[in-house]
C-alpha cells in the first residue's frame, strides 16, 4: 500500500511548489521583513504575470506531450506587429487581434510541421524560434520598435490598480484559473492528459490526437503573444531580442510546477505557481539586497530539484 504521503504528492502535484513558495517566503521575510507585505506580494504577482501567462500555454501543450520553444520569439514578433499597426494609426482592437492572429498562425504552422512532418516538436519549434528571431532582427535591423502614439486602451493590459498590483497580474490569475478548470474539469482537459500520457491509447479510444495537439500549439502561441502585448503596454518599446530566454523560463516554471517533459503529467495551477515562485525569487533576492546575478543560479537549483522529484514520481508504476 502506498503511504498517505506518496498519495498526497502524486495526487496534488502542486504541493511541492507550494511548500517551496512558503519556504522561500519565510527566508525572504527573515532577510527583509518588508517582504511579508501586500505591496511586495502584489509586486510579485505583477512581475510573474508575463512569464505566468506564457507558462499556462506552454504547460498546457507540455501536458499534451509537445514542446514549444518558439514562444519567446512569438512574444517579440506579435508585440512588434502590434506596435507597427498602432503607429500606423490602426485602432487598438485591430492591432490586438492581429497580434494574436499572427501568433495563432505560427502555432498552427508549428502543429502542422510537427504532426504532418512527424518530427519532434522540440526540433520544429527550435527552428521556428530562430527563424522568427532572425526575421525580426533583419526587419528591425536590431533597433527597438517604439510606440509613437498614445493608446489609452493599453491600460486595460497592464495599468496598476492597487498597491503594486497591475491588471496584468489579475489577467494572469484569471487565465490560470480558467485553464486549470479546463484541464481538470472538462472533457477536453481529460483528452489533453490522455493525449500526452498515452497517445496510442487516446487514439484507440477515439480521441482525435492531432486535433488536440493542434489546438494546444495554437493556444501556447497565442498566450505568448498576450504576454508580449502586456510587456509592450508596460514599456511602450519592444526590442527585437525581447523575450529571449523566456521560453526556457516558461518550461522551467512548468517543470517546477510538476509537469513532466514526457507529457501526460502536470497541472496549469502547478505551472502558474512555478512562474510565481520564479517571480518571488526575483523580487526576494533584490529585496534581500543580494546581487541580481544570483537569480538565475537559484532558478537552476530549483529546476534540478524539481526534475529529480518529477522523476521519482514518474517511477511510481
Amino acid at each position: 500500500m502506498p503511504s498517505i504521503r506518496v498519495k498526497m504528492i502524486t495526487r496534488y502535484m502542486e504541493l511541492g511548489v507550494i511548500l517551496s513558495i512558503i519556504g522561500m517566503a519565510i527566508v525572504f521575510t527573515y532577510l527583509n521583513p518588508r517582504f511579508a507585505s501586500l505591496s511586495a506580494l502584489s509586486s510579485m504577482v505583477s512581475l510573474a504575470a508575463e512569464l505566468g501567462i506564457m507558462a499556462i500555454g506552454v504547460s498546457f501543450l507540455m501536458i499534451a506531450g509537445e514542446f514549444d520553444l518558439s514562444v519567446g520569439s512569438v512574444f517579440a514578433a506579435s508585440s512588434i506587429l502590434a506596435v507597427w499597426l498602432l503607429n500606423a494609426g490602426m485602432p487598438f482592437i485591430v492591432a490586438f487581434l492581429a497580434a494574436l492572429g499572427l501568433a495563432a498562425v505560427i502555432g498552427l504552422a508549428n502543429a502542422l510541421i510537427t504532426i504532418k512532418g512527424k518530427i519532434p516538436s522540440f526540433i520544429t519549434t527550435l527552428g521556428m524560434m530562430w527563424f522568427i528571431r532572425g526575421v525580426l532582427l533583419a526587419i528591425t535591423k536590431g533597433f527597438p520598435v517604439r510606440l509613437e502614439v498614445n493608446v489609452p486602451e493599453l491600460a486595460a493590459l497592464s495599468a496598476p490598480i492597487l498597491y503594486d498590483l497591475r491588471i496584468s497580474g489579475l489577467w494572469f490569475l484569471i487565465l490560470a484559473a480558467i485553464f486549470h478548470f479546463i484541464l481538470t474539469s472538462t472533457p477536453y482537459g481529460n483528452w489533453v492528459q490522455a493525449v500526452g500520457g498515452a497517445p496510442e491509447t487516446a487514439r484507440a479510444l477515439g480521441i482525435n490526437v492531432a486535433k488536440v495537439k493542434t489546438i494546444n500549439f495554437v493556444l501556447s502561441s497565442v498566450m505568448a503573444a498576450l504576454a508580449g502585448l502586456i510587456a509592450m503596454s508596460r514599456f511602450k518599446v519592444v526590442e527585437p531580442v525581447a523575450g529571449m530566454g523566456l521560453e526556457l523560463e516558461a518550461i522551467a516554471s512548468s517543470v517546477i510546477g510538476g509537469c513532466s517533459l514526457a507529457g501526460g503529467v502536470g497541472t496549469v495551477a502547478g505551472a502558474s505557481l512555478g512562474a510565481f515562485l520564479i517571480g518571488e525569487i526575483r523580487v526576494g533576492l533584490i529585496m534581500a539586497g543580494a546581487p541580481a546575478y544570483w537569480y538565475i543560479g537559484f532558478v537552476g537549483v530549483l529546476l534540478i530539484i524539481a526534475g529529480i522529484i518529477n522523476l521519482r514520481l514518474s517511477r511510481r508504476e
Binding site: 472538462t186 496510442e200 484507440a204 477515439g206
Partner: protein, 259 residues
C-alpha cells in the same frame, strides 16, 4: 427483420503497408455470443486484423458487415459508436490518469452550463465505485492512479469499461501476456462472463492454452493468410500449435477432423 447470420462479417480483406502485404484476402466472422480465438505467429496479421475491425486501420480491399449492415470506419470512434471495443495489452488505459478519468475517457459524463461542458465528477466517481465493486477489486478508490494498479486489475477495468458502455463485440489483444497465473485465470473468467451476457469477443494471444480454455472457435493466420478456421472441439491445442509452427499442414488437420 430477421437477425443476420453473423454479428461481424469480413470478406476479402486486404491490407498493405508499403510493399508488405499484411493481410491477403482474409474472410473472417464472429457470431452472436461467440468467443473466437485468433492465433498465429508474430507477423501473421492478427493485430492488423484487429485494428481494422476497430477502425484504427482502414482496409485497402474488402467489405465489412456489422449486424448485417456494411460499415466503413474512419476512426476508432466510429467503431466504438456501434459497440466494438478493443482492450490492448499495455495501452488500454492511460497510466498517469486515475481510474474514473480512464473509465470515462472520451465518454465523459458532463453537465452543460451554457456552451461549456463541465465534468460531472461526482457521478463518474459513483459509477466507477460500483464498477470496481462488480469486478471485485478490493481497493475501490476511483481516484487511484492506474499506473499503480496490477496488470490484472487494469485488464479487468478495461474489459469492464467495454461492458459498461454496451459493447457488442470486445477484442482482447494479448490479455494475459503480462499477468501472473492467478490474474490470468481471473481475466479469462471475465471473458466467459462476457459470453454469458451475450457479448461476443475475439481473443488474440500467443498462449494457445489460454485461448483454448475460453474460445468456441479458433482461427489461425499465417503471414497474412487465413489457414485454419475450426471449432475448438475438433482440434487439440497441440494440433493448433503444430499448425502454427508449420509442423502440420492445415489441410491435414481438416482432413482428420472430417474423418
Amino acid at each position: 427483420m430477421s437477425k443476420p447470420k453473423h454479428l461481424l462479417e469480413m470478406k476479402g480483406i486486404v491490407k498493405r503497408f508499403g510493399p508488405i502485404v499484411a493481410l491477403n484476402k482474409v474472410d473472417f466472422h464472429v457470431g452472436y455470443s461467440e468467443v473466437v480465438g485468433l492465433v498465429g505467429d508474430n507477423g501473421a496479421g492478427k493485430s492488423t486484423l484487429a485494428k481494422i475491425i476497430v477502425g484504427y486501420h482502414q482496409p485497402d480491399e474488402g467489405r465489412i458487415f456489422f449486424e448485417g449492415r456494411e460499415v466503413r470506419f474512419k476512426s476508432p470512434a466510429d467503431a466504438r459508436k456501434l459497440g466494438i471495443e478493443i482492450v490492448y495489452q499495455d495501452m488500454a488505459l492511460v497510466p498517469y490518469m486515475n481510474v474514473y478519468r480512464n473509465l470515462f475517457l472520451n465518454r465523459e459524463v458532463y453537465k452543460k452550463v451554457g456552451f461549456i461542458k463541465i465534468l460531472d465528477k461526482k457521478k463518474m466517481r459513483e459509477l466507477t465505485k460500483k464498477l470496481l465493486e462488480d469486478i471485485g477489486i478490493k481497493r475501490r478508490d476511483p481516484e487511484m492512479i492506474v499506473g499503480k494498479m496490477s496488470g490484472g486489475e487494469r485488464q479487468s477495468i478495461a474489459i469492464a469499461r467495454a461492458v459498461h458502455f454496451g459493447a457488442k463485440l470486445v477484442i482482447l489483444d494479448e490479455p494475459t501476456s503480462a499477468l501472473s497465473i492467478k490474474e490470468s485465470e481471473r481475466v479469462l473468467e471475465y471473458v466467459l462472463d462476457l459470453k454469458k451476457k451475450g457479448i461476443s469477443s475475439i481473443i488474440i494471444s500467443h498462449n494457445i492454452y489460454h485461448v483454448y480454455s475460453v474460445a468456441d472457435r479458433i482461427v489461425v493466420l499465417d503471414r497474412g493468410h487465413k489457414v485454419l478456421d475450426i471449432p475448438k472441439d475438433l482440434a487439440t491445442p497441440e494440433e493448433i500449435i503444430d499448425v502454427i509452427a508449420h509442423r502440420l499442414p492445415p489441410e491435414e488437420l481438416q482432413r482428420r477432423t472430417r474423418a
